[in-house]
Symmetry: C2
Subunit: 107 residues, 2 copies
DNA sequence: CGGTATCCTATGGGATACTG
DNA sequence: CAGTATCCCATAGGATACCG
């Protein structure tokens, strides 16, 4: 199961984006990795089932949700930070790693 | 590129195994995730091209190699440790994490 | 905007056979 | 044992259209 999460590129991208503060569907779509809408939809649902992500209604009609990390999802931050540090050292252009991300305190 | 490495389940499995000290082709095959031979072969070649893994001849005829992590590959250990810590906390059965792995010192 | 549905193809990867 | 090669199918996921 851990492998299904960390070993999936789109899940990683979504996790990173959520840590960066993105929450709405279209905001994920703006990320440089260009995830397809159906894939995004699919992964968000999966991640919700896995308890990594929770969504909350922020508008009634039509229904609109925003997504945030659960504690379980938050706890993956160290994995992403480790990735970022590695990427900064070995392939600086390969992974979006703003400083405020690296400097985030692990809960 | 970082995503192609960390976001690929088989690459992660191989990295973990190499950190655990496995080196020979068939030893990888014994891992619980049951990688297929063609996939293993493919990933090892990929990882070699990416500079994560180096192989050295340990027997001449027929040619036999063993694999080890380069410095660049070694440097991914923190990612795997972060995964392991997360897995131990949230899904204890999902990822092979012997204590000596977690306790390894990052170079 | 915030999604869901459908279509369609590339390819990942399992099974298996084969070679040195 | 240590791989390489082939076959073959499922499915991931890109493109696109569509709906509330």
């Amino acid at each position: 199961m851990t492998l299904d999460i960390v070993g999936d590129r789109w899940t990683l991208v979504i996790l990173r984006d959520l840590h960066l503060g993105k929450r709405r569907f279209s905001q994920f779509l703006d990320s440089p990795e260009r995830i397809a809408t159906n894939v995004l939809s699919d992964r968000l649902a999966q991640m919700e089932r896995e308890g990594l992500v929770a969504k909350s209604l922020y508008q009634d009609r039509p229904k609109r949700y925003e997504y945030r990390l659960s504690e379980k999802g938050e706890a993956l931050l160290p994995v992403l930070q480790a990735m970022s540090r590695w990427a900064n050292r070995f392939v600086p252009d390969s992974w979006t790693t703003p400083p405020e991300f690296l400097n985030r305190k692990t809960p």
